[in-house]
Symmetry: C2
Subunit: 435 residues, 2 copies
């Protein structure tokens, strides 16, 4: 077990709380969307801090930042990290906690390596993934998906935000469009806040993540006809907003058919054209988000919605396009990695519980190319992607201890014989147009 002092704890907390000043919002959150000046500033802080701790910093073609202790020439790296970008008016902990915890875990282990207490079989790299949140540039989990070869980097660089700015331009504007090769990955570790309330409810300090949920989005466009709100009698209208509102209500209602807490459905993005108080809307663009622990539930909920949308289009005599987007099958983390997290929690002396992740994480992408261990700490009240997101200093400190222990075991070669995770059967996608 790595050695940790109370000074280490104080240093970690000082660094973590310092990061919350970048893009700080009045209500106690942060707003650091990918590629914005505030995101650039916190990433510059990361480079400076890592360099100060003796690491070598590189940046790859999609803007992922890597800070490496090159203990062994030409050896692959254990990667540990998360992301520094946030949702609009997001929380201070989501992503940032995992990056700062990994920085401190690495610094402690470097101390152990230099003191001869840890014999590395791999180098160690702390990673700050670019654009995990996907609020400004879709899809989310962009940097790790590029690095894992799941998405095409050249295409991702041309993705635009709502103002037409490309990923490439945004990366250039914050000095993060790199050309360094990404490190070869031996294994991967990530710690994150749970963003749910299972750990809090069951009073466990650490969650050993076993698998991701099955997730998919449906991009829906409702094509109505623009007309005068005052002069157009109700029978003559093809109101895109009323139809879109019914889709929002359907999207919530569909969960009633399933076990509580086994499925979540939402519409987060919803834009109305022309959006004038006295014009019946001609078009609404919306994105439905479907997630469930069981892929069959996502498939059947999707089918229910697609059929209901077709009936709605016919009933209201307007066209509705539905397109599958960002489809992600359930992915299991290797059992060896889950057990490794449990061993580390036992070493630190905190309670662990196996848990699935409803949210996507970089570890899901990394787990395709290298064995990954993913762990959670509790989120107070389970709230996330909002300014009142909160985790305690005590849980953050214990989580960092567990991460340090996990990474020590990875550096020593504990998962060297483990095969990476595999997605369960890929689900099909199609595009439907209803008139």
């Amino acid at each position: 077990m790595p050695t940790t002092t109370t000074d280490d704890e104080a240093d970690f907390l000082a660094d973590f709380h310092h990061t919350t000043t970048y893009g700080a919002t009045p209500a106690g959150g942060i707003d650091r969307q990918a590629g914005t000046p505030d995101h650039g500033d916190v990433r510059a802080w990361f480079r400076e801090r890592a360099t100060g701790l003796g690491m070598t910093v590189t940046i790859d073609a999609i803007g992922n930042q890597y800070a490496t202790y090159p203990w062994l020439p030409d050896a692959p790296s254990v990667l540990a990290g998360s992301h520094l970008d946030s949702q609009p008016l997001g929380g201070r902990f989501d992503g940032t906690y995992g990056v700062v915890a990994a920085l401190h875990a690495a610094a402690r282990l470097d101390r152990d390596v230099r003191a001869g207490r840890l014999t590395p079989r791999h180098n160690l790299t702390v990673v700050d993934w670019f654009n995990e949140e996907g609020a400004r540039f879709a899809p989310s989990i962009m940097g790790s998906s590029s690095m894992a070869g799941i998405k095409d980097t050249a295409e991702l660089l041309e993705v635009t935000d709502p103002d037409g700015v490309t990923v490439r331009e945004a990366l250039e504007s914050i000095g993060c469009l790199g050309s360094d090769p990404a490190p070869e990955v031996a294994s991967y570790a990530e710690i994150h806040i749970e963003q749910g309330r299972i750990l809090e409810r069951e009073q466990a300090t650490v969650g050993a993540v076993t698998q991701s949920w099955d997730t998919r989005k449906l991009v829906v466009t409702v094509h109505g006809e623009q007309s005068h709100t005052g002069a157009t009698v109700m029978a003559d209208r093809h109101d895109a907003l009323v139809a879109a509102a019914k889709i929002v209500v359907m999207t919530e209602d569909v969960v009633a058919d399933y076990t509580p807490e086994s499925i979540v459905t939402s519409v987060g993005q919803f834009s109305v054209l022309p959006n004038s108080p006295i014009v019946v809307p001609r078009e609404v663009n919306l994105v439905i988000d479907l997630r469930a622990s069981d892929a069959a539930d996502v498939t059947s909920a999707r089918r229910t919605l697609v059929d209901a949308i077709a009936a709605l289009a016919a009933d209201r005599d307007l066209r509705i396009d539905v397109e599958d987007f960002d489809v992600r099958a359930v992915q299991r983390y290797p059992l060896d990695g889950v057990e490794l997290v449990e061993k580390a929690a036992a070493d630190v002396g905190v309670g662990a519980r196996r848990i699935a992740t409803l949210a996507g994480h970089a570890s899901v992408a990394m787990d395709r190319i290298a064995p990954a261990g993913m762990m959670f700490i509790p989120s107070v009240g389970g709230v996330s992607h909002c300014e009142r997101e909160f985790s305690t200093d005590e849980d953050m400190v214990r989580g960092t201890d567990v991460l340090t222990d996990v990474v020590a075991r990875l550096v020593a070669g504990d998962l060297d014989d483990t095969t990476p995770g595999e997605p369960l059967a890929e689900t099909t996608t199609d595009t439907t147009n209803h008139r």
Copy 2:
């Protein structure tokens, strides 16, 4: 009856169709929102054309443009006109037809005055009202409401568009922030497309407008809580969008309790925050538009909606603010003016029908300070505020003939003893906050 030649008809049509090139859209509409460069260009054309026809052009403090034949020193004016601004992706006819028709009516009557065929008791002013549509700057019917003293001009000049540009800045940018006094008004005439399909259905060429509808808006803000679409279980959410969607559906459903075609309800403006695909929305701002021929129906529909919104807020444990906005009582046009339109239609030899206006018009504001005559020509299919809005050349020509006859009668003093219209009892407003 004024004299009209086929050359007059051709001149009118040439001018009207020329205006459709300003802000023309690929699908055959126009996009000339108030204070935009395209709106500035068509207003410059108006000044140039009116000057070429021998009129004197002035601009008042809210940007209304007046083109006057000053036949009599210090006499008040008969005003005739409409507006040149449009909705986003709006139609070519709404407003613009009335301005071009008034320009040509005035030119014909000036010819008659100079030939001694018409003895004026008033001067004649063609008016191009600023910001009738209210899409970029709320409220609508801005220029005429300022001129009639119904709204405070200083406050209107500080109204901002969604980008924070003020009315004052927009007027300056198109060279239309004037300081000339508005003319003294003897009486007012306006011709407009119906924007409904009653005239088409009943095969009447002209509608003699008897009264406006009772209208009001409700500005609604739904305050939910931002959270993660993936990680937040359904029971923990306070989704502002689902609640707002239910309000949209309620707003349509409320008309089921009333006589068809006697009431219209809509939501045209609807904005979601933060509008990210993986964030449960924290806030929705929307505007409900309620209009009915009978004020009691607007009052009762409003009460039904306000009560249902209160119940929704309680049911979903979130706060919903509702505020009355832009409340306009039914206003009757003077019967003398209605009969004058009917006489003019008879002179021209076209069929007329009495009709109410569902849409607001500058004539409703002018009718508070001077007797007003309002007339409609048919809209094909009743569609308006959209690119496929259409009226035939034949109907536009006949309508211009009727307008010319009406204005000739007004110039001769026909409504000099008529009192202006009065709004029926003002309805009450209040603000409600539901938790």
